[in-house]
């Protein structure tokens, strides 16, 4: 207990160790929050969900805080339906069995840029005869534009900028720009806009309802990707995955390496020889290629890759280093004393040899975490990420595959990259300080 306190006090003398520990603690906090706020199953459904889950989000939208860097404001996304926003629905039965349905969506537009897209998602009821709708656009300066008119199906999506009738009537300009500019200016006219859906149904039970969705160009704290997914889901879930993968691989590798080295050094003979030979064979094996092969041929599950990583990382140079030290420790007096009172081999290995090495083990363990965290990301960048789990590496892979840097979606790559860097640096800083504390030879240097 006393040595523990002494070590903690020693760690506190290194600013880098404090920074590293604080960042790691924050990451652990975020990981716990992520797992509680978005349970595993929900995270997977969200991440693998398509248009039906994410239709309200814009594509390729930068995070909202990008607005703080500029005086001009980017539009945010919103949707108006019967529960949120200002939607007025007036139903007036006509005498002849038809019914007029008038839906007005009112919103205030204050951004300086044009939105990405506007859509109306219709859900209608009818038996035989489709209802017919007319869409009108009312600008703040009092103009009224006819958007289009058509018969609607039970489920129908109307996208303003993809409507050829509208594009043609606007003379080929992008509807988003044309609808939001004044008659003789190129700038956005700010103010209250209205979308009016005037419909007529031809059957008694027939009904029209619709949701108006405006896709802005910024979204949330993290932005969105090519599939409209909120990147926050993957950024948050990336934390526990990176931590678990990094820590499990580092812990598994270093503990197993040490135990195997201890057995080899203690028993010597053919066991020691075998371990030495395996280590030499392992040096010949191409590590990354084998991981890629396992990922390509067999399974891309993160747990399979984790197991393979540990198995391949045990018999490396580290095992020789441990062996050399164990061979020295084996000759110590206290081991001889243990033997004299008749301690079993197992007892000596686990109670006498291994505890001696723990101070050496800890810095190495902590320092090896970043390389495993980055290994997971590396495999994801090669397209071998876990098929279901959202991870940082997979965000980078998606961004890369969609040419994020070419097209200027920098946030898409920078967010996961900064988190990776932060995690890697935190463990590296702490491991570095621990190395100096536990290896007195380095302390003066």
């Amino acid at each position: 207990m006393n040595t523990f306190k002494k070590n903690v006090r020693e760690i506190l003398r290194y600013p880098s160790a404090i920074i590293g520990s604080v960042v790691i603690l924050i990451l652990i906090g975020v990981a716990i929050y992520a797992v509680i706020a978005i349970p595993y199953q929900k995270a997977i459904t969200l991440w693998r969900g398509g248009e039906d889950v994410w239709y309200r989000n814009p594509k390729y939208a930068a995070p909202e805080w990008i607005d703080w860097l500029s005086t001009k404001k980017q539009p945010r996304s919103f949707y108006i339906n019967s529960t949120t926003g200002k939607m007025d629905k007036v139903v007036t039965p006509n005498g002849d069995g038809t019914t007029g349905i008038n839906i007005t969506y009112t919103f205030n537009y204050t951004a300086d840029y044009f939105p990405q897209e506007m859509s109306l998602y219709f859900t209608d009821k009818f038996d035989q005869k489709q209802p017919f709708v007319t869409i009108d656009w009312l600008t703040p300066d009092g103009r009224k534009l006819r958007i289009d008119n058509f018969a609607v199906d039970t489920q129908q999506t109307f996208r303003f900028s993809q409507d050829m009738n509208l594009v043609n009537s606007l003379g080929g300009t992008n509807p988003m720009e044309a609808l939001f500019t004044g008659i003789d200016s190129k700038n956005v006219v700010k103010g209250t806009y209205k979308v009016v859906v005037t419909g007529i149904t031809f059957e008694p039970n027939s009904d029209i309802s619709a949701e108006f969705v405006l896709h802005g160009t910024v979204f949330g704290l993290a932005g969105t990707d090519h599939m409209r997914r909120d990147l926050m889901v993957a950024l948050l879930w990336g934390v526990p995955i990176a931590l678990i993968f990094g820590l499990a691989a580092a812990l598994g590798t270093s503990v197993l390496t040490m135990i195997i080295a201890a057995f080899g050094a203690w028993y010597g003979g053919w066991l020691d020889e075998l371990i030495q030979r395996i280590t030499e064979v392992n040096l010949v094996l191409p590590f990354l290629s084998i991981l890629i092969m396992i990922g390509t041929f067999y399974s891309r599950s993160i747990w399979v890759i984790l197991g393979a990583t540990i198995a391949l990382s045990i018999f490396t140079g580290a095992i020789k280093g441990y062996r050399a030290i164990f061979l020295q420790v084996r000759e110590s007096m206290y081991i001889e004393a243990a033997r004299a009172y008749g301690a079993s081999d197992m007892r000596i290995v686990f109670q006498y040899l291994i505890p001696r090495m723990i101070p050496l083990l800890i810095p190495g363990l902590v320092s090896s975490v970043p390389s495993f965290v980055f290994l997971e990301a590396s495999l994801a960048v090669l397209g071998l990420g876990d098929p279901v789990l959202p991870t940082w590496g997979k965000i980078i892979d998606d961004a890369w595959a969609n040419g994020a840097l070419y097209k200027g979606y920098y946030y898409w790559i920078l967010e996961p990259a900064v988190l990776l860097m932060l995690t890697g640096l935190a463990f590296a800083l702490l491991g570095f300080a621990l190395d100096r504390i536990f290896n007195p030879r380095l302390r003066g240097m």
Partner: protein, 374 residues
């Protein structure tokens, strides 16, 4: 596998009766044999993994069946045949396809055939991949990619090595200075792999400032003028090489610096300082000389890594090197290419380890080949 920790077979007892030649010859023989066995086991394991216990065979067989059935379905001539004839034809074609890829022999036999061919460096023909000139020979596929990898890895690794050894030596002299502290402070940045820095470099220099290309090895279309061609390659080389260097440089300097510091605190260095020898002589004769075996080992191991290429960095920068070819080969289940690049790496590694023993004896008078000092 370093020779320092592993004295050779014990011939010291016979001492003077044995000449140096016999000792060296015996040591050489045993060492070559163990190294060869290591290579054989290593390559065989790679072949086993590349086959996944016949799992890959199944994938390839299904591929053939699908392709043949598809081709028959699209063939107007086949539609006129009777079902029996067509079925027979499909089966024949499937058998032919399997024979072409060697799938008609059992996995175990095929594995040993791969192994013996690989060990004799008969790399054979790729299953699916072709070189740019259209050849199926694995040797040509590898040779074609080799210059690109050697250029990228050679430039970055060799400059990284010499720059870090040189800077480390300077820093170890100015131990405790601001530069020294800065290097220590920056060394954790090496936790990130090269491709990671590559992304940032591409972002800054290609996407924002637009002064360097995003990737590739030469402009398209390639310049016809030789000088322009070289300049174009150099321009494409800057970012991938920098990212390889950047990701390793600080840790490398730190390690070498600590290593030199440990050696410069030896008594004989203090003695030399006390004698008033100039700093350059101390560095050359008292610090560099005894550390030479380690420096050479590191350099030799580095030369081998030059060979393997950097799969992910090459992929990120679309650099047409060996690493990316290997990655593509794995994606296409092209076992001969995978085995071909593994065997060459294994042989090079074994050869380097073998030669290092002799190099040690040359540079360090305390080391005797196959001898022990006791």
């Amino acid at each position: 596998m370093t020779a320092g920790t592993e004295p050779g077979p014990d011939t010291g007892k016979k001492k003077l009766s044995n000449g140096t030649f016999a000792r060296v010859a015996r040591y050489t023989g045993v060492r070559l044999l163990t190294l060869f066995a290591t290579v054989v086991v290593g390559v065989y394991l790679t072949i086993l993994i590349a086959n996944m216990g016949g799992y890959v065979d199944q994938i390839m067989k299904n591929d053939i069946i699908e392709n043949v059935t598809q081709a028959m379905a699209n063939d107007p001539a086949a539609r006129k045949m009777t079902p029996e004839v067509r079925k027979q034809l499909i089966e024949e074609r499937i058998a032919l396809g399997e024979k072409k890829l060697g799938l008609d022999t059992p996995v175990v036999v095929r594995d040993f055939r791969y192994l013996s061919n690989a060990l004799r460096l008969e790399l054979g023909h790729a299953l699916l991949m072709t070189s740019d000139s259209g050849s199926r020979q694995v040797r040509l596929i590898i040779l074609e990619r080799l210059p690109a990898t050697l250029l990228l890895m050679g430039t970055s690794e060799i400059s990284l090595f010499f720059v870090s050894v040189f800077l480390a030596l300077t820093l170890s002299r100015k131990y405790g200075s601001i530069w020294d502290k800065l290097t220590i402070g920056l060394s954790p940045t090496s936790a990130a792999p090269p491709w990671f820095y590559g992304i940032f470099l591409i972002l800054i220099f290609a996407a924002i400032f637009k002064i360097l290309p995003f990737g590739g090895m030469v402009d398209t279309p390639p310049p016809t003028n030789v000088i322009d061609y070289i300049l174009s390659i150099l321009r494409h080389l800057v970012l991938p090489a920098s990212s390889l260097i950047l990701s390793a440089i600080f840790l490398s300097i730190y390690n070498w610096r600590t290593f030199f510091l440990i050696y410069s605190s030896e008594d004989y260095v203090d003695m030399a300082k006390a004698k008033g020898l100039p700093a350059r002589d101390i560095e050359r004769r008292y610090i560099l000389r005894p550390t030479l075996p380690t420096i050479i080992t590191q350099f030799a191991l580095l030369l081998i890594t030059v060979w393997t290429g950097a799969t992910i960095t090459e992929t990120v920068f679309l650099w047409p090197g060996l690493g990316r070819t290997l990655f593509r080969a794995i994606g296409l289940y092209d076992i001969p290419v995978i085995v071909g690049s593994t065997i060459i790496y294994a042989y090079l590694l074994a050869l380097t380890v073998f030669l290092l023993d002799f190099v040690y004896a040359l540079v360090d008078p305390r080391v005797k080949v196959g001898g022990n000092q006791s």
